[in-house]
Every structure is written in structure tokens, then in C-alpha cells.
């Protein structure tokens, strides 16, 4: 198993290196690149199957010579993230092979694909702060290459916005990481240490970690890069960005924040509010989008809002954590697969030129959309029920939080609205789509990975939940069994519950025609970024003007000082001294003289003492 851990990280890195070697090796590496996530899946599947089953020591790979002493390994949380990451990257890699079949720069694409993948897997497997930092960074920087791939003006703008936000986030994370390492007196990850052993890294560092990872996870106001990057990136890249990479931010929170300690009520509360804002904000802004992939990006902001609420609740109230952990794992897996399927599906729909050819993929999209909305008997319903149940302790104990479960349900109506809008956008003719003139129709190479992702959407969350010990076919009272007393609960259940799942979708369906008639305004992707950019440009121009004024003043000062000096006559003898000094023999004599002078001074100094 240790060897497999090494292989998970080494395979993408080795393949990426081989891509740099022209000739037969490059050809072989390009052929293998789509499969690079296979070892990750191979490691993740048995690990997920044995979750909670035994207390056997987790697989660990110790590399004491690497960095400041690295440890990689797999634990329960990590195994779920590894499965969702590996599976999505594998599907996206296979999809990309067909999607980019006629792209001249596909080797370059796969190079960035492999590095981003290696970083993403490293984030999941890292068991120490420095390896986590390195992996997160490799993922972040390599993803820049995926976003800028097309090289269009929009792609450049999006990738620059992404880079600026990501680098700022790295600064915050550096602060958080160093404080963490200081507080726990080593480089282990707080979440992997035995309970009570320095989980709490202090409010300041927690805030920095929250915001730093929040850029990846799309916290409101830190989300601006998402709707810009997703439409311009090649579709398989959008799928992994929105499905897997966005979860790396979530995993960062799980690994570093003092969850279940109750140490940060204020921060936790703020996080819950931020998550709720994101859930609604993403839905509202998403509806105003014209590009399907920008809409999906806003949907990701909205869905990550649900996860943010759960993590924030666990930060605020320790009792929430055990149930919230299960909910977060199931929800993360569900969202990764569903969002991946939606993105891959958009790519297929857009490559079908005729309206009729679009119908079949649209059925699949409708299914994925229904799952994301959380219609009864879907993985989405399961994930949202688990989430709401996990929030109950908070809603009962804290007065302001009592409408929380209702608000979470209401936000699902927003998701439904978004999905309806998405289907409507996809039904239209391709006139204003960002896709380049489609080089070819969607081939089997694209269809098969997409169908695979739909299968994972249908079956995955339920299987995962059952492995995590969630009773699936019970009613309310049956849920109280063993460790899940806090309400790890009921998912697919009676009619009353079904109604609770159904009304948001019905609300969305009812609201949609009204909305359409009201002529939805079109807002630019990136919303608040647009005015922000304008202000920044103006500020930069003003600063530049001021700087040049200061520089001018300094220059004038220098000129007048030089003139002054010349007038005093001191400038006259210096140049000739220079000329003489430049001859190396005179410099040598000077050297000797200086030596003599030194000697003399020292003698004098000694006599004086």
C-alpha cells in the first residue's frame, strides 16, 4: 500500500516529465496521460470500502529527506476526497483525450493537466503542513496553464484574475501554515493529531486559513475568478476545477480549522452566514448568466455555500461536527460527481450541431440537474438531508440559527431555478456560445466518460453514505443507532420528508416562467469584479502618475545637488582620480598604501592604549 501511495503521486509527475522529452517517449506519455489518475482510484476504492471498519493504522509513506520531512498517507476523510478527486480526474482525462483530439497544443494541455492532478492528489494525501503547502501550490500554479490554454483575450483576463487572487490567498495561507507549525511544534496536520493536541491555532491564523482556502472554495467576494475561469477553460478542465479542485479548499478547512473544538464561535458564525450568502448569491447571479459554464460556476459557488455552512456550524458548535463530517463527505462527493457530469455534458451538447442531436444529452443533463436540485430518491436529496440534520443541534441551541434548515431548503429552490435556466440555455442555438467552431461531433471518447460520471452521480452518494454508516431506508426513530445519535439521518423516507424535498423544486418550476417573462437582466460574469477592475485600473494610473512625479522631484533634487557639487569644485578632481584609479596598477599601489596605513594606525592605536 505504501508503494501505491508513492505511485499515486509519482505517476502524474513522471508522465509530465516525459512529456518534455521529444520523440517516442513524449508520444507514449501523451497516450498514458489520461489514465494518470488510475492509481489514485485504485488506492481510494479499498480505502473507502474499509472506512470505519477497522482501526488498522492508516497507510503512511514517510519521506524524511524530502522538504522538511514529508509524510503522505490516507485516512478516512482523505479516502473520500481521494476517490472523488481520482475518479473525476480520470473521467476528465479520458474525456480530454477525445475533446482535444484536434487541438495542436494538447501536449501542453496534458502537461498542465498532469501537474495540476499531482498537486490535487498531493493535497489529499499530504499528512504534514509543508507537503500540503507544496501540493496546494503546485495545483494552484499549474491550473493557471489550464485556464489560459485557449489564449484568447477572455482566457488571459480570467487567468490573470485567477493568479492574482490565488497568490493573495497563498500569502494568507503562508501565515496560517507557519502559525500552525509553530503552535503544534512540528509540521503535522492539526486534524490528524490526537484530539486536544494543539488543534487550536488561534483566531488570527484560523481567519487567514479560512480566507486563504476560501478563494479556492469560492467564498462570497473571493469567488470572482470562478465564473471567469470556467467558461474559458477547456471543458474537461472546467469539470476538474469545479468538481475536484474547489474541494481542495474545503479539504484545507477540514485539515486545519479547529473543527469540533468549539474554539471559534465568532468565526464559525461568520462562516455560516458567508455560506448562506453564497448559496443564494450564487443562485441569483447564476440565473443572470448567458454562458452555460458561467452559470455552472455560479452554481458551484452556491453549492459550496452549503458546505461552508456545515463547516462553519462545526466550527461554532462542537456537537455539530460528527454529523457534519459525514454530511460534508457525502455532499462533497455528490457535488464533485454531479458538477463534473454537468460540465462534461455541456461540452457534449455544444458539439451537437442539430437541435435533435441535443435531445439525448439533454436528458442526461436534466437528470444531473435534478440530482443537484435534490429531488427525492437522488444522491442530492440524501446529501442535503444529511446536511440539514447535522445543522439541527445548532438550530435548536442558538436562537439566531433556528431558520437555518429552512433557509438551506429554500436555497435548493435556487438550485432548481439554475438548472432549469441551464437546460433552457442549452436548448438554444449555438450562436452565442463561447465554444470555438466545433472541430468534430462528440465522439464515443467523450460520451463514455460522461456516462461514467452519470453512473457515479446516480449510485455514488448512496453507496458512500451506507459505507459511512448512514441508515438509508429507515424512518426518523431508526436513525438513532450507535454513533449517529446526533442525527446522521434519514434520507429517503416517508411522504412528509419527500414533500420537504419536493417543494423547493416545485417552487423553482413555478417561479421559472414568471422569471422568464420578467426579462432577467444579464450581468457580466465575475459580477463585482467588473467595477473593481475599473477602480483598480484607475488607482494604478493615479499611483503611476504620483510615482513619476515623486521620481521627477527626486531627479530634480539630484540634478541640483550635482550642480551644487560642481559649483563647489569638488567635481573637478574626481573624474581624473577615477581615470587613474581605473588603471589596475594604481589600484594595486593604493592597496599597498592602504595596507601600510592600516599597519601604522594599528601601531598608533596600540601605543595609545
Amino acid at each position: 500500500m505504501t508503494g501505491l501511495v508513492a505511485a499515486v503521486l509519482a505517476v502524474p509527475l513522471v508522465l509530465a516529465t516525459l512529456l518534455a522529452v521529444p520523440g517516442r517517449l513524449r508520444a507514449a506519455a501523451t497516450a498514458l496521460a489520461p489514465w494518470a489518475a488510475l492509481p489514485a482510484v485504485a488506492l481510494a476504492v479499498p480505502a473507502v470500502l474499509s472506512i470505519h471498519v477497522s482501526d488498522a493504522p492508516q497507510t503512511r509513506l514517510d519521506l524524511p529527506w524530502l522538504l522538511l520531512g514529508s509524510t503522505f498517507g490516507i485516512d478516512d476523510t482523505g479516502s473520500v476526497f481521494l476517490l472523488l478527486t481520482g475518479l473525476l480526474w480520470l473521467l476528465a482525462g479520458l474525456y480530454a483525450r477525445a475533446y482535444l483530439a484536434t487541438d495542436a497544443a494538447r501536449t501542453r494541455y496534458f502537461a498542465y493537466h498532469l501537474f495540476t492532478l499531482a498537486g490535487n492528489l498531493g493535497v489529499v494525501l499530504a499528512h504534514d503542513v509543508v507537503s500540503f503547502y507544496l501540493s496546494f501550490l503546485v495545483m494552484t500554479l499549474a491550473a493557471f496553464g489550464l485556464i489560459i490554454h485557449r489564449g484568447t483575450t477572455a482566457a488571459r483576463r480570467a487567468s490573470l484574475v485567477y493568479l492574482v487572487m490565488a497568490v493573495a490567498a497563498e500569502g494568507l495561507l503562508l501565515f496560517g501554515f507557519v502559525v500552525t507549525a509553530h503552535e503544534i511544534g512540528g509540521v503535522g496536520l492539526p486534524a490528524l493529531l490526537p484530539a486536544g493536541q494543539g488543534h487550536d491555532v488561534g483566531g488570527n491564523a484560523s481567519l487567514m486559513l479560512l480566507l486563504g482556502f476560501g478563494v479556492k472554495a469560492g467564498l462570497p467576494l473571493l469567488h470572482m475568478w470562478l465564473p471567469l475561469a470556467h467558461p474559458v477553460a477547456p471543458t474537461p478542465a472546467s469539470a476538474v476545477l469545479s468538481g475536484a479542485m474547489i474541494k481542495a479548499g474545503l479539504l484545507g478547512w477540514l485539515r486545519f480549522l479547529p473543527l469540533g473544538e468549539g474554539a471559534e464561535p465568532l468565526l464559525g458564525t461568520s462562516m455560516v452566514i458567508a455560506g448562506l450568502v453564497a448559496a443564494f448569491y450564487g443562485a441569483v447571479l447564476g440565473v443572470t448568466q448567458r454562458q452555460p459554464k458561467a452559470l455552472l460556476a455560479y452554481s458551484s459557488v452556491s453549492q459550496m455555500g452549503f458546505l461552508t455552512v456545515a463547516v462553519g456550524a462545526a466550527l461554532a458548535l462542537p456537537e455539530v461536527w460528527p454529523a457534519a463530517r459525514t454530511a460534508v463527505l457525502v455532499f462533497a462527493f455528490h457535488h464533485a460527481m454531479t458538477k463534473g457530469a454537468l460540465f462534461l455534458g455541456v461540452g457534449i451538447v455544444q458539439r451537437q450541431e442539430r437541435w435533435r442531436q441535443r435531445l439525448l444529452p439533454l436528458v442526461g443533463m436534466a437528470f444531473a440537474g435534478a440530482v443537484l436540485t435534490g429531488l427525492p430518491f437522488t444522491g442530492g436529496a440524501l446529501a442535503k438531508s444529511l446536511l440539514k440534520n447535522a445543522l439541527h443541534p445548532l438550530a435548536e441551541q442558538v436562537s439566531w440559527a433556528s431558520p437555518l434548515p429552512f433557509l438551506v431548503t429554500l436555497a435548493a429552490a435556487g438550485t432548481g431555478l439554475l438548472m432549469l435556466r441551464l437546460l433552457a440555455l442549452l436548448l438554444r442555438r449555438a450562436e452565442e456560445e463561447e465554444e470555438e467552431p466545433a472541430p468534430s461531433r462528440a465522439t464515443a471518447g467523450m460520451w463514455l466518460p460522461w456516462l461514467g460520471s452519470l453512473a457515479a452521480v446516480a449510485a455514488g452518494p448512496v453507496l458512500l453514505a451506507s459505507l459511512l454508516g448512514v441508515p438509508l431506508y429507515g424512518f426518523d426513530d431508526l436513525a438513532v443507532s450507535g454513533g449517529s445519535a446526533s442525527g446522521e439521518g434519514i434520507a429517503i423516507e416517508g411522504v412528509a420528508k419527500a414533500w420537504e424535498l419536493l417543494w423547493p423544486a416545485l417552487l423553482a418550476a413555478a417561479a421559472y416562467p414568471v422569471l422568464l417573462r420578467g426579462a432577467v437582466p444579464e450581468l457580466p460574469a465575475g459580477d463585482v469584479l467588473v467595477p473593481l477592475e475599473r477602480v483598480t485600473v484607475r488607482l494604478a494610473a493615479a499611483t503611476a502618475a504620483r510615482t513619476s512625479r515623486v521620481a521627477g522631484a527626486l531627479e530634480r533634487l539630484r540634478t541640483s545637488w550635482n550642480a551644487q557639487r560642481r559649483r563647489l569644485g569638488s567635481g573637478q578632481w574626481l573624474p581624473s582620480l577615477e581615470r587613474n584609479l581605473m588603471r589596475w596598477d594604481s589600484a594595486g599601489v593604493l592597496l599597498l598604501l592602504l595596507g601600510a596605513l592600516l599597519t601604522a594606525v594599528l601601531m598608533g592605536g596600540r601605543d595609545g592604549s
Binding site: P64, W65, L66, L67, L68, G69, V130, Y133, L134, L137, I148, R156, L160, L163, V167, A168, E170, G171, L172, L174, F175, V178, V179, A181, H182, N204, T547, A551, L574, P575, E578, R579, L581, M582, W584, A587, L590, L591, L594, G595, L598, T599, V601, L602, M603, G605, R606, G608, S609
Partner: protein
């Protein structure tokens, strides 16, 4: 007569003799000159390796020559000096290769390489100096031997920059000399001793010692480019690329930083330095320099000027680590002495490659240069990421330990300075990387496939130092890494 006496002298002689032998050579004997150069450089690396091996195995190397009555010229090999000496020897080796390739057809090469060798002799002398007098002698020698290198081109700008350089460094040298005499008056002829030599003389005269401390820092701060004293450094970048590389990575600026290190640890000692309250002031000064240097770098379009201001900023990382006066901070400062050298020399080599091969000198001209010179820009990118402080390149290790050191001393604000500096570094390095790799070239330059992008004499050193910068961070925890050595030194120091 024994080896422990002669070896330190031989280390100096390996470059001194080379230099003296090169001076009289006529310009056309380039083969002989290059052979001499490479022999000298190789011998020095071997000798330093032998000394390092011996030191690890418990042999004390010390050369003591009577210079003045009561006052000896002392070359002593201690772990700290070994760290600096190995850096000088290894980087000199690569810079010599680079300089041979870079200056192939330029005039006055005997003068150049003669002073080049003397300059390294002085740098190694600074590193091995066993007392303040010896230190001052080599420190001044360094000033005088680098001046001809700075003005080598002989253009008006070079001469003017050289003048600035001389004025700054000679004034600094004079202050240092004064301080050395003052120290002599207080404590008599004393060697550097770990823990400080002034502890016994501290009673009742704190202000005198504070003034002495300030004088020493002012004298050394010129070469270490502390902020109001840094003006010479950005102007001196007019020198040929190999000189800038050596100047910025080892020879001159490091001599200043290394001197401040010796003053704090081996003249005043950690305890006295903190009792006098001077370290706090130095910390603030270093932090200011870090931020101001980066801000200035942000405004430069000339590539070498941008790199020069980056040096101003990065050097103060070393001082910051030392001034914190805690073990972790000291590790950060010490290790950055090596790491900054590896990364900065790579950046200057790469800048030299660009100007030699493509005549690209400005950041705004760098669009798409990576297509024409992928190896050079790969090395540049690696080193620049290291400068920002990103893992796995060496600079990250320095920053990590400086950050831990700041928290250890309860000075969380320093961590913010480091974060701000990282962001500023990203602000002036990432646009360069973006231009080079992701923008279309302004002039159409065909990539070369059939041969190397430039002479191997230029490419090999660039790649080698970039690789070392990567390895120093990637394998920071391995034995023999700079970090491991710095940890051992600091363990001894704070025992």
C-alpha cells in the same frame, strides 16, 4: 608545520596565486588564462571540501600569523565560516566558467580575471577571518579588488557607478576601521569567540557599547545594503553579468551580512546584544529594508536593476534572522546566506544570457523569450519562485524558519512583513515569468533546435546553480543540505 596550519592559507593561495599569475599574461593567451582560472577554481573547491571533511571529523584548522605586536592575522575554520567559504568556492567555480563564456571577446581580460581571482581571495579571507582586524583587512581588500570589476567596461556610466561604489564602500570601510580600533581600545586584541568577547567589558558602559554597535553596523551595513546605505548596489549593476552575479550572490553584499553576523554572535554575543536593546532596532531596520527594497524593485523596468533591488530586500532576510536572536530565526538567516546566493546568482546568470544572446535588457522586452531560451528561462523561473519563497525551492525554507523564529520570539508582526514581502516578490517576479512564457514574442525569433540556445559555458552554470537552489529546498531535511548545516551550527551556538 602541519596541515591544520597550512590548509586555510592554501585555500587563500589557490586564488591569490591564480590572480597574480594572470595579471602579466598577454591578452591573446586566452587558453592558458582559462586553464589557470579553472585550475585555481577547482583546487579551491577541493581544498574547501577537504577542510569541511576535516572539520566534521573534529580537526581544528587555524592559521595565526603575527601581523603586529599582540595582534595576529588569524584564519580560523569554524562551521559558520565554512558555510560561507564553501558557498564562495562553489559559486566562484561556476561564475568562472560563466565569465569565460560571457567575456570571450572582450578586451582587458587579464586585468579582469586577475582582479576576479583577488576578489574571491578576499571573500574567502572574510569568511575565514578569526578576528576583527583580519576581517577588516580582507573587507577592504574586497572593496578595492571589486572596483576594477565594476568599472570594467570603462563607459561613462560604469565609471560613474564605480565612483558611487567607492565612495559608499570606502566610507563604510573607514567607519568599520574606526570601530575596530575602538573595540581594540575596549577589549584589547581579541579573537571572534562564540558567545561574544565583550561580555566581560560590558559593566557600566552601555552607551559606549551601543555607539560601538551602531558604528559597526553602519560600517558593515553599506555592503549589506541596509536601507539608507544601499544606493551603490543598484548602480553597480552596470558591471558585466558575471560580476553582478558574484557581487550580489557572494562576494560583496554577503561580506557585509556575514560581518554583521559575526559582530552580533562573536563580538557582542547574543545576550549582550539583546541587553543593549540594539537588536530590536536592527530588526526594524531590516524589516524596513525588506519592504522598501521590494517596492523599489516593483518600479524597475531594467531587469538587472529589478534584480538589484530584490537583492537589497533579500539580504535583509539574513539580517532579520540574525537580529531576532533566537535559534530558529538564526537558522533562517544563516541558511538564507546560502539560499539567496544560489537563487540570485541563477537570476543574474539568466539575465546575462538574455542580454548576451537576445540583447534583451528590459522586462518590457521579455515577451515570449522563453520560446527562444527555454533552459535559461526555466532556470530563471525556478529561482524567481524561490525568491518569492514558494516550495520546493530553497527560499521557502529560509522564509519558513524566519517565520517560525518570529513566532518563537513572540514577534508576530515579522510574519506579516514576510507575507507582505512574499506578495511583493510575486508582484515583481510573476509578471516577468508570465511575459516570458505566456506572451507572444514581439520580434519573431525562431527557436533553435539543432543546437543549445547559447554557449554551453553560459548554460551549464545557469542550470547548475538553479538545480542547487532546487535541491537545497527539495531535500532540505537531508544530511549535508544547507539547512542541516545551519541547524548544526545553531545547535552549537545556543548550547
Amino acid at each position: 608545520m602541519n596541515w591544520s596550519f597550512w590548509l586555510p592559507l592554501l585555500v587563500l593561495a589557490s586564488s591569490l596565486v591564480t590572480g597574480l599569475a594572470i595579471f602579466p599574461l598577454p591578452a591573446r593567451r586566452s587558453n592558458l588564462r582559462n586553464t589557470l582560472n579553472m585550475c585555481g577554481a577547482s583546487i579551491k573547491v577541493v581544498l574547501v571540501a577537504v577542510i569541511a571533511w576535516g572539520t566534521v571529523h573534529g580537526i581544528d584548522y587555524e592559521t595565526r600569523l603575527p601581523l603586529l605586536p599582540d595582534y595576529d592575522l588569524v584564519l580560523a575554520v569554524e562551521p559558520v565560516s565554512l558555510l560561507f567559504a564553501s558557498l564562495s568556492a562553489v559559486l566562484w567555480f561556476f561564475t568562472t566558467i560563466y565569465a569565460i563564456g560571457y567575456l570571450r571577446d572582450s578586451p582587458n581580460l587579464s586585468r579582469f580575471f586577475g582582479f576576479f581571482s583577488l576578489c574571491v581571495t578576499a571573500a574567502v579571507g572574510v569568511s575565514l577571518a578569526g578576528n576583527l582586524l583580519t576581517f577588516v583587512v580582507f573587507y577592504e581588500l574586497l572593496t578595492l579588488t571589486t572596483y576594477p570589476l565594476v568599472v570594467h567596461r570603462g563607459t561613462p556610466e560604469a565609471v560613474s557607478a564605480g565612483r558611487t561604489y567607492l565612495v559608499y564602500t570606502l566610507v563604510g570601510g573607514t567607519l568599520l576601521l574606526l570601530a575596530a580600533l575602538w573595540l581594540y581600545a575596549i577589549a584589547g586584541p581579541v579573537d571572534f569567540v562564540s558567545g561574544g568577547v565583550l561580555t566581560h567589558h560590558a559593566e557600566g558602559r552601555p552607551w559606549e557599547l551601543r555607539a560601538l554597535f551602531l558604528l559597526l553596523i553602519a560600517g558593515l551595513g553599506v555592503k549589506a545594503a541596509l536601507v539608507p546605505l544601499h544606493g551603490w548596489l543598484p548602480r553597480a549593476m552596470i558591471a558585466p553579468a558575471p560580476v553582478s552575479a558574484l557581487l550580489h550572490a557572494v562576494a560583496v553584499v554577503k561580506a557585509g551580512a556575514f560581518g554583521i553576523m559575526r559582530v552580533i554572535f562573536d563580538v557582542f554575543g547574543v545576550r549582550l546584544s539583546s541587553e543593549l536593546g540594539m537588536s530590536g532596532a536592527l530588526t526594524v531596520l531590516a524589516a524596513t529594508t525588506i519592504i522598501l527594497g521590494s517596492l523599489m524593485a516593483l518600479l524597475q523596468d531594467d531587469l538587472k536593476r529589478r534584480l538589484a533591488y530584490s537583492t537589497v530586500s533579500q539580504l535583509s532576510y539574513i539580517l532579520l534572522g540574525i537580529a531576532m536572536l533566537g535559534p530558529l530565526g538564526t537558522i533562517g538567516g544563516l541558511v538564507h546566506l546560502v539560499h539567496q546566493g544560489l537563487m540570485k546568482i541563477t537570476l543574474f546568470f539568466a539575465a546575462g544570457n538574455l542580454s548576451e544572446t537576445l540583447e534583451v535588457h528590459r522586462v518590457s522586452e521579455m515577451d515570449g523569450v522563453a520560446r527562444r531560451m527555454p533552459l535559461t528561462m526555466a532556470a530563471f523561473t525556478l529561482a524567481a519562485l524561490g525568491m518569492i519563497g514558494l516550495p520546493p525551492v530553497a527560499g521557502f525554507v529560509s522564509k519558513w524558519y524566519l517565520g517560525l523564529g518570529a513566532l518563537e520570539q513572540g514577534a508576530g508582526w515579522i510574519l506579516w512583513v514576510l507575507v507582505a514581502s512574499s506578495l511583493l516578490n510575486a508582484g515583481y517576479f510573476l509578471p516577468i515569468i508570465y511575459r516570458a512564457w505566456f506572451r507572444a514574442p514581439q520580434r519573431s525569433v525562431a527557436p533553435v533546435h539543432d543546437r543549445l540556445e547559447a554557449s554551453w559555458l553560459l548554460i551549464l552554470p545557469t542550470m547548475a546553480t538553479a538545480f542547487m537552489a532546487l535541491a537545497a529546498g527539495m531535500f532540505a531535511n537531508a544530511s549535508l543540505s544547507p539547512l542541516t548545516l545551519a541547524r548544526q551550527i545553531v545547535t552549537e551556538m545556543y548550547r
